[in-house]
């Protein structure tokens, strides 16, 4: 692969010219039998045993998941019923890729994972929303944990007919000159936030109408690449697409909210690299569901999953 994206029916390694088909099966090997009976691979060489490592692939509503682990559980079992259902809800009609963003954050990948599961830091660190008086209080919130995966949700208040209750603009310390930056539309009823953390290092962030899928790719103990795939629906109206574009000003590498995460995680990385350690527990010590955001249950669920696959014994395990 020497281009960022594309299709290749017969991937060929330029080094020794080994050629594969689309399933990873090895088709041809240069000098397999040597030249004029000299050299080459031994008689025992078998192309079938030397194919590419294959991805096991499953699809939920057009979203393709892959794993290199042949013993991994079936996708729906791995994600848990609630997370699979939420992905189905979001992807209930054809999606349209809006584009990509790529960023290096200077922290260990696990800090970034924690950040995305951390429902506590939002109002504290990201004061853009409260200071401009554009926070809409949620009627209901939930943190649902399945295995090492977690789903953070919030819903707006609705009346008896299920219509979203209008919320008068608040007085913040500052006023937006152009409040259309937070203009939106209701795509999934009263649901306004879905942060779906898929163990170990990927997530959907659907915040109002700014929707993206993110992958965290560790590149060294102190650096992580973040790849965002932004999406909407194929049948988005012009207005809806415009709302997504405006709202995405809050997220991504230059976003009002997201820029602060990159900065703070770098700071934390520098601090923990000194080697000191302390343990505090926020919102109990289990990994159960909560109907509030003042708990680190979903972070504990990540670490539990991490310890399991890394064979690190858990002390005082409480499920």
């Amino acid at each position: 692969m020497r281009e960022l994206r594309g299709n290749q029916n017969y991937p060929t390694c330029p080094y020794h010219n080994w050629r594969y088909d689309g399933t990873g099966k090895l088709l041809g090997v240069a000098m397999e039998k040597g030249l004029k009976g000299k050299g080459g691979y031994p008689d025992s060489f078998c192309k079938e045993d030397n194919g590419l490592q294959t991805l096991r692939v499953s699809v939920i509503s057009g979203v393709v998941f892959g794993t290199l682990d042949p013993s991994a559980p079936e996708l729906n079992t791995f994600l848990g019923p609630r997370i699979s259902q939420r992905i189905k809800d979001i992807c209930h009609k054809p999606l349209k890729i809006l584009g990509y963003q790529r960023q290096t954050v200077h922290c260990n990948w696990k800090l970034f994972v924690e950040n995305n599961r951390d429902s506590y830091h939002g109002p504290q660190l990201h004061s853009f929303i409260p200071q401009f008086g554009i926070a809409r209080p949620a009627d209901q919130v939930a943190v649902e944990v399945d295995g090492a995966n977690a789903l953070l949700s919030s819903w707006l208040e609705t009346d008896e007919e299920g219509n979203i209750v209008d919320f008068p603009p608040q007085q913040g310390e500052f006023q937006l000159e152009d409040p259309s930056i937070v203009e939106g539309f209701e795509a999934l009823g009263a649901l306004q936030l879905s942060v779906i953390s898929v163990f170990p290092a990927s997530l959907f962030t659907c915040i109002r109408n700014a929707w993206s899928f993110r992958r965290m790719i560790p590149t060294s103990p102190g650096t992580t690449n973040i790849e965002y795939t932004w999406f909407g629906y194929e049948d988005d109206t012009e207005f809806e697409q415009e709302c997504r574009l405006k709202q995405s000003n809050l997220l991504g590498p230059a976003g009002y909210v997201a820029m602060e995460d990159a900065e703070v995680l770098e700071m934390v990385q520098n601090a923990i690299s000194q080697g000191d350690m302390s343990i505090l527990q926020f919102g109990g010590d289990d990994t159960g569901d909560t109907d509030h955001f003042n708990s680190e249950a979903s972070i504990r669920a990540f670490w539990k999953g991490y310890c399991e696959i890394m064979d690190i014994p858990l002390q005082g395990d409480r499920s």
């Binding site: 990509y100 790529r102 500052f174 152009d178 259309s180 590498p253 009002y256």
Partner: protein, 175 residues
Amino acid sequence: MTNPDKVRVQAQASIADVELEKLEKDFMRFNIAYCACLDDDRLEDWPSFFPEDGRYLIQSRENLDAGFEGAYWVYYISQGMMRDRVTSLRHINTFNHHYYRHQISNLRILSVNDGVYEVRTNYSVVQTTFEGKLQSTNVGEYRDQIYIDNGKALFKEKLVVPDTFHTESAIVYPL
């Protein structure tokens, strides 16, 4: 996609050489003033390079080349949005302070339509940390639409197209 070479020929045909040279100088000076405003940390002046309905956009070369319509790093379609950015950076956002240093070159005028000039300029922005260490460089192209209002140049639209579309840490100040 427009073929820049073709547009260039049209531009040359529609603007006399002498006039073209003068416009290139004027627009270069305009872009130099824009960059100096950011390098000097005069953020409050930044929106004044645009009219009330001006557009400031950052869209990666990756997305433009592949034909994607979204995923702008910044999508501001009014001067108000730009002033809100300034308010937020000055009073609200938490970030490590840093310096910007712009270099611009190779300005060329591609076309003119109804008094709006399509102008492209190469840029690079070097970022230095508050501790004086080199942090990162962002390189790309300004794709500007410039018009003259009462003798004063304004960006109808400034589309910043980073070649460096994999960014280091965050982009806090405008490029």
